[in-house]
Symmetry: C2
Subunit: 636 residues, 2 copies
């Protein structure tokens, strides 16, 4: 969906063609691992396996099992440092090889500084590119094992389950009753050759014969407005189908506050909101399965990234404490969940990964976004902004990471704007002034019906450039306008005593049928951008850095993807940096959800983020209002 | 229910009035713990806490929390042996005390031989007597904790769940989504004073205010014929209500084989059998809650002991492999289960303990029975017999324990017997010959309608004594009968060419209206008792002991409770021992289920039994048939 605009922005030179994520470096960590012959040294958290330390840093080690300890291909030699022998090492190596330091990299944890030698590749590691240009070694929680078991006899009355688990003795499994119910028939229907379906450490099913090739998962980005589902083939890491739809909770209000309010006014509202969110997810799941020609029963895991309110509602947890001071989450980390707990009818015992929240207004969507954009690993000072009604801001250098939420209001959604509308067909989304002429780009290439968030930012920025709006946000007087921009000045007029700038005259040239930008609209945008810039300027202060020293700004969320970096700088929504440093990060929440499904290591990285990132509450800061007023003016 | 007969047997001197279980001693184990000043030395498995080692052996150590590490009352001093300092010891003792060896007994694991000193009691440990005279220290999996939490502020935005878990930091808890859904409202409804409901290591609910006094559990004995439910107050260990009813699966057949066959013939039968068993349990649960005036939502855990077929059926696991050679269980240990998984509507997230099975015909009921009768702890050579259609036999001395199943057939249930009936109103259950007169005891004191299992055994035994049946099992010729027992001889007659002995003539003295014992009935009983005695004689041989050296015989199950020990010896169903050594053990399956609910230690003892007990399969023994034929005659 966003690709067309991305291409256009690339052509216009507004977007940096280099994917920044490709440059990520590991930043948090306590031990050093030196890899020969590549002569690369990396720092990783103590306890990380050598295999992961290598794969996180793009150093390829042979593996066909993705680091599960089963293929025994990830042989490395420890040249220096602690290297205890694991239970699988003694099967994989001779005593002489063990003495020489040979170990399986996936089981060799780096508990101290290490120097290791990596033999040349024989097979290629399986990896997928997700998130902001991140390469993820495939290590999904979903595992399938094809097994040929011996038939029982009177002399060997081992129970069905113990027979199966003995063949999976490298895993410490819990067993779902569903799998046990299916086991006796599955074994006897297929001459004791079956496929065990494991998710994390749970045996959730057994399937007769060999079904190892088919293992799917669905990543959900549960937005307040839009919900996106991606069906993933976890065997290859590739997306099979993507669908999006409006959140069916829309009738309860456009933003999270109106939905929380609904649950306060009506005790039955929470159940209805839960059902509507669950129906949205379930319908999308059915859609992507149909589109991808996958049986829903072959989907064994889902991941869900949403803001705290959406996550509470879809799980049926009361959201009221999120909506009133002191803004309290029911929990940061969610307990073990099933897809059924969020109403998604795929495999009946499919499991669900729901992203944890950092705070009432820095939810799982932002945690997923941080994961996808490598906020915890990139050593550059980076600013992450998910622009929306509630705007989440993250600032960090990999070592120290701060986050906060800024109440931007609904301007970016097109609400509270005179001619505002959502980014749908008929919305003016790009506004340019060139050679004294106004040029509009309209979604769907149809007659303009209104102005969406990106169009609003563009219109204000272009009129600032043209001088028709001054730094304080006022439309200049008519005579000054004629002087500065004679070809545009007649568009500056009034309606009901309020000054407006007409963007599109409509059929008969009547001002009442026109699409315009009003003085009050400019004020709304000023409030919104001031909330955001107050947020990141306070975070910068907390971190002891200046906004100008920020090396990269990631604009995230569906709105961020459409925003012109140059105009975002122009109105002061982002710090004044080279436009090349402003990067569209795309749907990072959805990308984070995909990463969690493709790699258990990345998933645990998301959980670790909660300990690494500090949430800064702005609402109780005495200096917030002064700062906010200071930020209302547009930059010089 | 059985108490009346127990009293009667006691009066008759047929039952040993001393509860044998009171003498149990710990027999399995690897380390020695010496207790001063009592000067008692016990052997326990390495790793067992000193607290448990003491309580298992009747040595009282102060405790009000039941060994959960919270009351800090269980102070002991380690005089000799390894005594690492636990995390709670440093809070409970001064450095000087720690140097002197003071430790909390509940956290002090005996990893080597120990000598400890136990201070005199200040409070009494809470214990309950269950099983075969066993004293169980209360340590239920259900725990309730009343907590007063600090209210959140903008300066302390800790999430609701983390706030709660911080107050439970001595427990490593998993959290049920249900508890999380209730948490925000519960906290805010009660000024942050709530009761946490924990079962095992799972937080299943939170309740506003202090509800710690109310914590209930239900123990089920799921029999093929009869199902018994006991509502337990886990705070005191006392049973609050007991109810029983027929298993609603009865229409599918009287024994497990007919029910397994039903699932083979009709693919939908398993679902119907599952529903019927679940309905039985659920109806009983509602009954005991009503009787005990307990809200079903206050029942947080259930335990279920049943044979392997019943357990498979109630869980919806296909039972077919149990019914055909090589007789394979789907599993020995069941996975983590909820009461809802067996259809019991109590607390929606109540958990379920389902007893594991040793083999297809030595099920969870027998494992529960072994637990209740202390088969793993009593050092005497003991024989445990659960008499029924399928008869389970256990022989052991605490160190070595063997078990097997004997296909006794339905004679003991009154089936396949000409005038047979279940032990219900109208069934002749006791038959005695005294002073040449036949005396009958009929259930319900009504007109006799038939002969139940215990009446069958009595009738045959008494006629053996009177000489009317010879050792080979034949009725003696009429003239010989007149010689031996003139007052009874006219009862020996014929019907349709088969010889019979009339027990009750009915209204008009017509043989066709009589209740009688037929020659074929005697044969059925011979087959049944031969199967059983072949079983225990083979187990004795495997163990290298003679049946005469057995020190105690436990007759278990509802049938065993009604059986006359003297007549059981007479017909050779049990070894020829002093009648005082034959003990009615009662409903040991139900008692075992209660023990599992009252003590997590006892529960893990049940799981441990599976590793300690060896299952001996009789059906593939080449000498089984010869042995069986040898056992058909009655003892001299």
């Amino acid at each position: 969906m966003t690709e067309g605009y991305r291409d256009q922005f690339l052509r216009e030179g507004l977007l940096d063609p280099t994917p920044r994520g490709a440059e990520v470096e590991l930043a948090v960590g306590r031990v050093r691992v030196h890899f020969a012959p590549a002569d690369r040294e990396v720092r990783v958290p103590a306890g990380v396996s050598v295999f992961d330390a290598a794969s996180w840093n793009g150093i390829a080690i042979d593996s066909t099992c993705g680091g599960h300890g089963t293929c025994r291909k990830c042989r490395i030699r420890v040249l220096d440092g602690p290297a205890p022998v694991s239970r699988l090492d003694v099967r994989a190596f001779s005593p002489e090889q063990l003495r020489q330091g040979w170990r399986l990299a996936c089981l060799a944890a780096a508990h101290g500084d290490l120097a290791v030698e990596v033999p040349p590749l024989v097979t290629r590691p399986k990896a997928a590119t997700v998130g902001v240009g991140r390469q993820v070694i495939l290590r999904p929680a979903i595992q399938k094992r094809y097994l040929k078991l011996a038939e029982p006899t009177l002399a060997d009355q081992t129970s069905d389950l113990e027979r199966l688990l003995a063949a999976l003795d490298d895993l410490q499994l819990r067993v779902d009753l569903h799998a046990l119910r299916r086991l006796p028939a599955a074994l006897r229907a297929s001459d004791y050759t079956i496929t065990a379906v494991v998710v994390d450490d749970v045996l959730i099913d057994v399937e007769p014969g060999d079904s190892t090739a088919r293992r799917y998962a669905i990543a959900f980005d549960l937005g307040t407005t839009t919900v996106v589902a991606t069906l993933l083939d976890t065997a290859t890491g590739t997306p099979v189908a993507v669908r999006s739809m409006l959140n069916k909770q829309q009738p309860f209000g456009a933003d999270v506050i109106t939905r929380i309010s609904a649950t306060m006014l009506d005790p039955e509202a929470i159940e209805r909101l839960q059902t509507l969110a669950q129906d949205t997810l379930d319908e999308l799941a059915a859609d992507v399965c149909k589109q991808g020609e996958v049986n829903p029963a072959e989907v064994y895991e889902i991941a869900l990234a949403g803001n705290a309110t959406m996550t509470h509602l879809v799980l049926g947890v009361p959201p009221e404490p999120l909506g009133v001071a002191p803004f309290i989450l029911s929990t940061r980390h969610w307990p073990e969940l099933l897809a059924a707990d969020v109403g998604v009818r795929v495999h009946p015992r499919a499991r669900a990964v729901v992203f944890p929240s950092l705070g009432a207004y820095v939810g799982g969507d932002v945690v997923a976004g941080m994961l996808a954009s490598g906020m915890d690993r990139d050593k550059r000072l980076r600013l992450f902004i998910d622009v929306g009604t509630n705007c989440e801001i993250v600032l960090g250098d990999g070592e120290r990471i701060l986050t906060t939420a800024a109440p931007a209001g609904p301007a970016f959604e097109g609400a509270a704007i005179r001619c505002g509308m959502r980014a749908a067909d008929g919305a003016i989304e790009v506004v340019r002034v060139a050679d004294g002429q106004l040029r509009l780009q309209v979604i769907g290439d149809v007659e303009p019906r209104g102005l969406c968030g990106s169009g609003l930012v563009d219109a204000v920025a272009e009129l600032l450039t043209a001088g028709l709006i001054d730094r304080s946000g006022r439309f200049v007087p008519a005579d000054r306008a004629r002087e500065l921009a004679p070809t545009l000045a007649d568009r500056l007029t009034e309606i009901d005593g309020e000054r407006i700038f007409v963007l599109h005259w409509g059929g008969v040239g009547e001002v009442r049928e026109a699409i315009y930008l009003s003085q009050r609209d400019v004020r709304e945008l000023q409030f919104a951008k001031a909330a955001i810039s107050t947020g990141w300027s306070l975070l910068a202060e907390e971190l002891g850095v200046t906004p100008r020293s920020i090396q990269q700004v990631l604009l995230a969320g569906s709105f961020g993807s459409y925003l012109s970096p140059a105009n975002a700088i122009k109105i002061g929504l982002v710090p004044r940096l080279s436009v090349l440093r402003i990067v569209h990060a795309g749907n990072v929440a959805g990308e984070g959800a995909k990463m969690a499904l493709l790699s258990v290591r990345e998933r645990s990285g998301a959980a670790a983020l909660l300990e690494e990132v500090r949430y800064v509450e702005l609402s109780d800061r005495p200096d917030f209002n002064d700062r906010f007023v200071d930020q209302l003016a547009f930059p010089a």
